[in-house]
């Protein structure tokens, strides 16, 4: 079985501060980590590797420093790592990102499952996975919280919903996006870390390597433009009206009348 895991190196948003004047993230000095959901995606792939035997290829688009995130994922047990890095990729929105990833997947060739995280903690759009499936014209299941079966030509998974889950069966090849409930990512082992630096390699691919339409890459290929970003005002605390439903409605009605809402 051949598995591709898409992962993104992100600033550890727990430690990020927002510049109150510009409304943008202060990235300096913030440690980079593997996007948390992507670790769940990788863990799912590693478990399949242990159960059924599989080769795991990592794919990331990012600056040269993303090499570190790939090494960490190699240390956890992945087999091959590809870093898509090129000035031409810079300024990509989710559409250009997913187009770039799709070109790379086509170049990798045959695969059975692509795992993505549900969403990245910095961009938070949850768009890249689904868009990638569309570019490749394969089925997708998002919010996977449990894998029930993986067979020769299909998967059966539980897909998380707001108030429950649904069981979805999909044909291979398929793209799955992982939520954190799916599993607990393992620690890289000492053996794994040494192997990741001394024995395994990170392949670097550029725009030229993946081919395709250069107009669809990076800023040029990005229909989304960020006009302004800002930190939302903190919400004021609400009022809880106690009592039976009937009493509470009465109180609420009075309040709304007093405020001329009704």
């Amino acid at each position: 079985m051949k598995i591709i895991v898409c992962l993104k190196q992100v600033p550890n948003t727990n430690e990020v501060k927002i510049d109150s004047k510009t409304g943008t993230m202060i990235r300096e000095g913030v440690p980079s980590i593997i996007n948390p959901d992507d670790k769940n995606a990788l863990e799912a792939a590693l478990q399949l590797k242990e159960e059924k035997g599989a080769s795991i290829t990592l794919l990331t688009m990012g600056p040269p420093q993303a090499d570190y995130a790939l090494r960490e994922a190699l240390a956890m047990g992945a087999d091959r790592a590809i870093l898509l890095t090129d000035r031409a990729f810079a300024g990509a929105d989710t559409w250009a990102t997913s187009y770039t990833l799709a070109q790379a997947v086509k170049k990798i060739g045959q695969f059975d499952i692509i795992f993505c995280g549900r969403q990245a903690i910095d961009g938070d759009t949850a768009q890249v996975g689904p868009e990638l499936a569309e570019h490749l014209d394969i089925p997708q299941v998002t919010y996977v919280k449990k894998i029930l079966a993986v067979e020769k030509d299909k998967v059966v998974v539980e897909r998380a919903l707001e108030d429950g889950y649904e069981v979805v069966e999909a044909q291979l090849p398929v793209l799955l996006t992982a939520v954190k409930e799916l599993n607990t990512p393992r620690y890289p082992s000492a053996y794994g870390i040494v192997a990741a630096f001394d024995e395994k390699e990170v392949e670097t691919w550029t725009a030229e390597t993946i081919g395709g339409n250069p107009e669809k890459l990076g800023l040029k290929g990005s229909p989304t433009q960020v006009k302004r970003s800002f930190a939302p005002k903190a919400k004021e605390a609400g009022v809880i009206i106690k009592g039976t439903a009937k009493e509470a409605v009465q109180v609420l009605r009075q309040e709304l009348l007093a405020k001329h809402v009704l």
Binding site: Y68, R71, E72, A75, Y187, P188, S189, A190, Y191, I193, V194, A196, F197, D198
Partner: protein, 379 residues
């Protein structure tokens, strides 16, 4: 001089911190209270390769360097000093003498499973009447056909009773004094080899400390480590390396004291101000932070010298002396900074102060470290 860690070392450090925070710290209070050996944590460390960090792959190790191993002891001790010494005694005192002096057969049989974390190691040098004066060994080993017969008692042995493999020192030729001491690899379960009860200790209570008792215990001849008469040299060279481990344990304890003080002094208010606003407190914190950095440089330097296969005996002694005395001094200050709360078991600094003391005693007391340093400086 290069003070930067490599990317690989950085990744290791992050791993040790995460492991210490998630797996070690949550249990530290309870295992200290109960004096309970943390088997579960030791097994997890074994699986992840921590118990064989500095040994090459051919011997079951992870193939990392000494500095990486030292950072593991530091970070784990920062969460729980008892777990830290279990790691240090296993790697530096149990495995290392076999790595350095063992035959290929001994390495295959003992070092490989030890480095993989399948067997735990220990080191038995100290005797009731041979402490600082380790040359005064009274345990005797007499050759009888294809085996040595061991008689005697070792005292205060870390991992005693829990370890599977013991490096034991005994007199094979009393007439030769120092040169009459030999080292043996002894398996737990060998007839004639038993343990005393677990000692009740002031600190590092979750580590096991026991007597090793040998009564006509037959050790196969092939378990002699090095040659007959090499024992004292093996012990001293092993302790040189071990001291870097204990220095790292002390460093971890001191760092933990600083961590606690930084957090506490920002939270605790007196006179409508956080404690961190008082200059008397700030100066204690400044001294603590400075000594910890100085200790870290000494400890890492000793580790790097060992990795470069340069002499490190004096530097290891300096690292252990400075780090352990800094740990003791600043854990006392940390309790002071916490006031009455610091005297209560619910606060980590109470344990840190008890744990710090041992680092000035074992693997050579501070007095011994000063002798080593003076000996090297005045020669």
């Amino acid at each position: 001089m290069d003070f930067e860690l490599t990317k690989k070392q950085e990744m290791f450090r992050t791993l040790f911190q995460e492991f210490a925070e998630k797996e070690v710290a949550p249990k530290a209070f309870e295992i200290d209270e109960n004096g309970e050996f943390p088997w579960d944590t030791v097994k997890k460390m074994g699986k992840l390769g921590f118990l064989g960090l500095p040994f090459t792959k051919e011997y079951g190790g992870a193939g990392a360097d000494t500095l990486t191993y030292i950072m593991a002891v530091e970070e784990i001790s920062r969460a729980c000093a008892a777990t830290g010494v279990i790691l240090s005694a296993h790697v530096s005192l149990g495995c290392h003498p076999i790595y350095q002096f063992g035959t290929p057969q001994q390495k295959e049989k003992y070092l490989v499973p030890m480095a993989k974390g399948e067997l735990l190691g220990a080191f038995g040098l100290t005797e009731p009447n041979a402490g600082t004066d380790a040359a005064g060994q009274q345990t005797a080993a007499v050759l009888d056909g294809d085996a040595y017969i061991l008689n005697g008692t070792k005292i205060f042995i870390t991992n005693g009773g829990c370890a599977d493999v013991y490096i034991v020192f005994a007199m094979t030729d009393p007439a030769k004094g120092l040169k009459g001491i030999s080292a043996f690899i002894v398996e737990k379960g060998t007839p004639g080899f038993t343990f005393g009860p677990k000692e009740h200790k002031m600190g590092i209570r979750a580590s096991s400390t026991t007597e090793l008792i040998f009564q006509d215990c037959r050790i196969p001849k092939e378990n002699l480590l090095g040659k007959e008469g090499d024992g004292f040299k093996i012990a001293m060279q092993t302790l040189d390396g071990g001291r870097i481990g204990i220095a790292a344990q002390a460093l971890g304890i001191a760092q933990a004291a600083l961590d606690e003080c930084v957090r506490y002094t920002k939270e605790r208010q007196q006179f409508n101000k956080p404690l961190s606003n008082f200059q008397a407190i700030q100066w204690m914190i400044a001294d603590m932070a400075t000594d910890i950095d100085a200790a870290r440089f000494l400890v890492y330097r000793a580790a790097v010298l060992k990795d470069k296969k340069k002499p490190f005996s004096k530097e290891a002694a300096m690292a252990k002396l400075f780090a352990s005395e800094a740990a003791m001094k600043h854990t006392v200050k940390a309790v002071q900074i916490h006031g009455g709360y610091g005297y209560m078991k619910e606060y980590k600094v109470e344990r840190l102060m008890r744990d710090a003391k041992i680092t000035e005693i074992y693997e050579g007391t501070s007095e011994v470290q000063r002798m080593v340093i003076a000996g090297n400086t005045l020669k």
